[in-house]
C-alpha cells in the first residue's frame, strides 16, 4: 500500500492496478497510512536515571518525583528530563507540571533542554566552593538548569553536579523570579512567579517557532525558539522533599491547548487567505478535471453557466487546456455512464467498436477489470449460477497471471457468502468499484490518443496540483528541521473543526 505508484501503462496500453486502487482507499485506510508515515514517539515518563541527583520516584508511573535532598546544604537543586524528546511533526507540543509539596526557595523551573546534557564533576576545595556558593546564591552566574552541592565523605569537599547545555537551545521558566532563562547568564523578565499548588505548562509552537508557557491554565507568554534540534521536556525542583507531578498528556491539561492550537492554525490560515489568488485558477482546474474524467454533461453545464455571467477578469491563454483533454470526450462520457449503471456488456461492446486496441489482448488489466465487474454484477442481482458459468468462461484465464491472482480470488470469494455485501469482500459490491472500472476505461481511452504524452495524461491537473502541494509541504517541513505539520489531503479534509480544516 505504501508504495502504490501512480498509474503506469503496461505494454498493451492498459492500466496498472495498484495505482488505481490506491485512489479508492477508504477513510480508515488513509488514517492508518498517515499514522504510519507521521508516527513519532512521545514523552511518557520522567527519566530519573539521567537526572542530577537522586530523585525518588513517588509513583509507579514515573510521573511524580520527590527530591529528597540532603539536610546539610543550602542548595539542593536538581533537574530531570523526560524519557523522550518532544515530537516535532505537529503544530504544537505541550506538557504540564504541578508542584505538590512546598519548598523554601522556589528554584522550581519548567522548560526544555537538548539531549547530550552532561553531568560533570568538578571537585574542588571547600574554600573555593564556599566562596563560589555564596557568589552563586546572589549572582547571575548561576545557570538555570544547574547544580547541586553534595558533601561527600570529606566534609570539606563539595562536588558540583552540573548540567551543561548549549546556549540558545534550552529554555526555562523559573518559579522564584518569574523569569525566562535561555542559556544566558541573566534571565529576562517574563511572567508571574509560581510555587507549591501551581500548575505550570511549557510548550513548543513549531509553526511560530516559539516556546510558550502557562500558569494555572492561563497563557503567560511566548519567546522565540532558535534551535532546531530535539528538545526534552525538563523540570527542576528546589529543595528537599519538594515534589512535582508531571503530565505528558495522560490526563487533561489545565490549559486549553486545543483552543490555542486552533488560534494558531487560524492565524496561519489567515496568512494564506491574504495571499494573492492567481486569477481564474479554480475555474480552469475544475474544467480540466471534468474534461479529464469525461464528465461531458457537467462540463457543458459548467461552460454554459460560466459563459453567460462569468467574465474572466484576467485572460488565460485560450489554448491553456490542451486539445488532448477534449479527446474522445463524448465516447468517454458514454462509457462512464454505462459502467456506472452496471451495464458492462454494453460498455465492452462500445469499447470493442470504438477502441478495439484497448481490449485486444484479452488478458490485460482492463479486460480483467471489466470481466470481474461483470461477475460482480451477477452476484449483485443474486444470479449465482450465471456467475459461475461466466467465471468458468471468462475469468479462468486470469488465474495464471500472478499479479491478478489475489484480486481474482477475492472476487470469486463472493460466491461463498450468503450475504456477500456484508462479507470481508463486500467492498467489491460498492458503487465505488464501478467508478474504479470507469476510471480505468477512461484512462485507457485517453491513452489511445496519439497526441497524449504518455504518463502525463493519466491524472487530472487537480490531482497533479494536490501531489505538488503534498510534496512542497514536505520539502518545506524538511527545511525546518522536520518540524511542524505537513499536508495530507485526506487529513486536511477530515480534520475536526470547520475553521481549521479545509472543508
Amino acid at each position: 500500500m505504501g508504495n502504490a505508484q501512480e498509474i503506469s501503462a503496461d505494454e498493451e496500453g492498459s492500466v496498472e492496478l495498484h495505482g488505481l486502487a490506491s485512489w479508492w482507499r477508504s477513510g480508515p485506510e488513509w488514517d492508518a497510512a498517515l499514522a504510519e508515515v507521521e508516527a513519532e514517539d512521545e514523552p511518557a515518563q520522567l527519566n530519573t536515571a539521567n537526572s542530577a541527583g537522586g530523585f525518588n520516584l513517588v509513583s509507579l508511573d514515573k510521573l511524580s518525583v520527590r527530591y529528597p535532598g540532603h539536610p546539610h546544604h543550602a542548595y539542593d537543586v536538581g533537574a530531570v528530563q523526560a524519557d523522550r524528546p518532544a515530537p516535532a511533526r505537529r503544530l504544537l507540543y505541550y506538557f504540564e507540571m504541578t508542584v505538590d509539596h512546598a519548598g523554601a526557595k522556589g528554584l522550581l523551573a519548567i522548560g526544555f533542554t537538548p539531549p547530550g546534557v552532561k553531568m560533570c564533576r568538578q571537585p574542588g576545595s571547600v574554600a573555593l566552593h564556599r566562596e563560589r556558593a555564596s557568589e552563586l546564591e546572589h549572582s547571575t552566574v548561576f545557570q538555570f538548569f544547574c547544580f547541586r552541592l553534595r558533601q561527600l565523605e570529606h566534609p570539606t569537599v563539595f562536588q558540583f553536579f552540573c548540567l551543561e547545555f548549549w546556549e540558545e537551545n534550552s529554555c526555562g521558566y523559573r518559579g522564584d523570579d518569574g523569569m525566562i532563562y535561555r542559556g544566558q547568564e541573566t534571565g529576562e523578565s517574563f511572567g508571574p512567579t509560581f510555587a507549591a499548588g501551581d500548575t505550570v505548562g511549557a510548550g513548543i509552537n513549531y509553526a511560530a517557532q516559539e516556546f510558550f508557557f502557562t500558569k494555572n491554565g492561563h497563557l503567560v507568554g511566548a519567546v522565540a525558539k532558535n534551535a532546531k534540534g530535539p528538545l526534552f521536556p525538563t523540570v527542576a525542583v528546589h529543595s528537599q522533599n519538594e515534589q512535582v507531578t508531571v503530565n505528558f498528556g495522560k490526563h487533561p491539561f489545565l490549559f486549553n491547548i486545543e483552543a490555542y492550537a486552533l488560534e494558531e492554525r487560524t492565524k496561519q490560515l489567515s496568512a494564506i487567505e491574504k495571499s494573492i489568488l492567481p486569477v481564474n485558477v479554480s475555474h480552469w482546474i475544475v474544467r480540466s478535471y471534468l474534461l479529464h474524467y469525461g464528465y461531458e454533461d457537467t462540463l457543458n453545464s459548467f461552460d454554459t453557466a460560466t459563459g453567460d455571467s462569468f467574465q474572466p477578469a484576467g485572460v488565460v491563454q485560450e489554448n491553456a487546456i490542451d486539445l488532448r483533454d477534449t479527446y474522445a470526450l463524448n465516447h468517454r462520457k458514454t462509457l462512464r455512464q454505462l459502467i456506472r449503471a452496471g451495464e458492462i456488456d454494453s460498455a465492452m461492446e462500445k469499447l470493442q467498436q470504438w477502441y478495439p486496441q484497448t481490449v485486444q489482448n484479452e488478458t490485460n488489466t482492463l479486460c480483467f477489470l471489466l470481466r470481474t465487474q461483470k461477475f460482480i454484477e451477477y452476484i449483485r442481482i443474486g444470479e449465482l449460477e450465471a456467475a459461475v458459468k461466466f467465471a468458468r468462461a471468462h475469468l479462468a484465464k486470469f488465474f495464471s497471471i500472478k499479479s491478478l491472482g489475489a484480486l481474482l480470488q477475492n472476487c470469486i470469494a463472493l460466491l461463498a457468502y450468503d450475504q456477500p455485501a456484508e462479507s470481508c469482500v463486500g467492498y467489491l459490491l460498492d458503487v465505488n468499484q464501478r467508478e474504479l472500472v470507469a476510471d480505468a476505461v477512461n484512462v485507457a481511452v485517453l491513452l489511445t490518443n496519439s497526441a497524449s504524452n504518455g504518463r502525463d495524461g493519466l491524472s487530472s491537473r487537480l490531482e497533479k496540483l494536490l501531489r505538488q502541494l503534498t510534496t512542497c509541504c514536505a520539502v518545506r517541513r524538511d527545511l525546518s528541521g522536520d518540524q511542524g505539520e505537513t499536508f495530507h489531503l485526506h487529513q486536511a479534509l477530515h480534520s475536526a473543526g470547520r475553521r481549521t480544516s479545509l472543508a
Partner: protein
Amino acid sequence: MMDIDPRVYEHIVVGESDVARIVLSYLVHSCFKETAESFMSCSGIKPTVDYLSNMEQRKSIFHFALEGNSLKAVELTEQLVPNFLEQNKDLHFDLLSLHFVELVRCRKYTEALEFAQKALTPFGKIQRYVGKLEDLMALLAYEEPEKSPMFHLLSPEHQQNVAEKLNQAILAHANLPSHSLMEKLVRQISVVRQCLQQELGKDSFPAFSLKSFLNN
C-alpha cells in the same frame, strides 16, 4: 516558464473521492447549481455540508452583483438575511459604490450625484469611509473616469471582488465555509512554493503560475 518537474511528485498518492470533493466544493461555492447537480449524479459524490439550502438565492445575488446590478443584489440580500448589510457596513458600502460607479460609467452624472448624496454620504460620518467616498466623488471630475487614478473602481476585477466578498459573507453567516477548498488549496500551493523559492532559489521551485502548470 517551466513548472515543477512532475517526476518530483508523481509518486504521491491522493484519494479520488477527496479530489472530487474539492471540485464539488468549488461548484457549490460559486453557485453553479446545475453543474453541481450534474456532477453529483455523474460521479456519485455527495456534499458533506448542506450548501444546497441557500444556493439558489446565493446564486441570484452573486450573479446580480457580478453583472453590476448591485441594487438588486442588495435587495435580495436583505430578503435572504434581514439586517445583514447593516451588520456588514463595509460590504454594504462597497455594493452601493458599485451602483454609483455603474452610473458614472454610463455617464449619468446627475443621477450618480443624487444617488451618492442619498445613499453614500451618510457613510461619511464614519471616519474610515471618508477616503473611499472622496475617491468615488473624484470620479465625477473626470471626462474619462477610466483614465483617472481611480480607474480600478471601474474594473471588472473590482466588481468580481465585491461579488465574491458578498458571497463569502453570506456563506459565513449560514455557518458554511466561506472559501472553497479549491481556492484554499491554490492559495496554499502558491504560498508554499513562494517559501520554497525564498529558501531554495528560483530554479528548483518557481513561483506558481497557472499557465505553466496547465501547460506542463
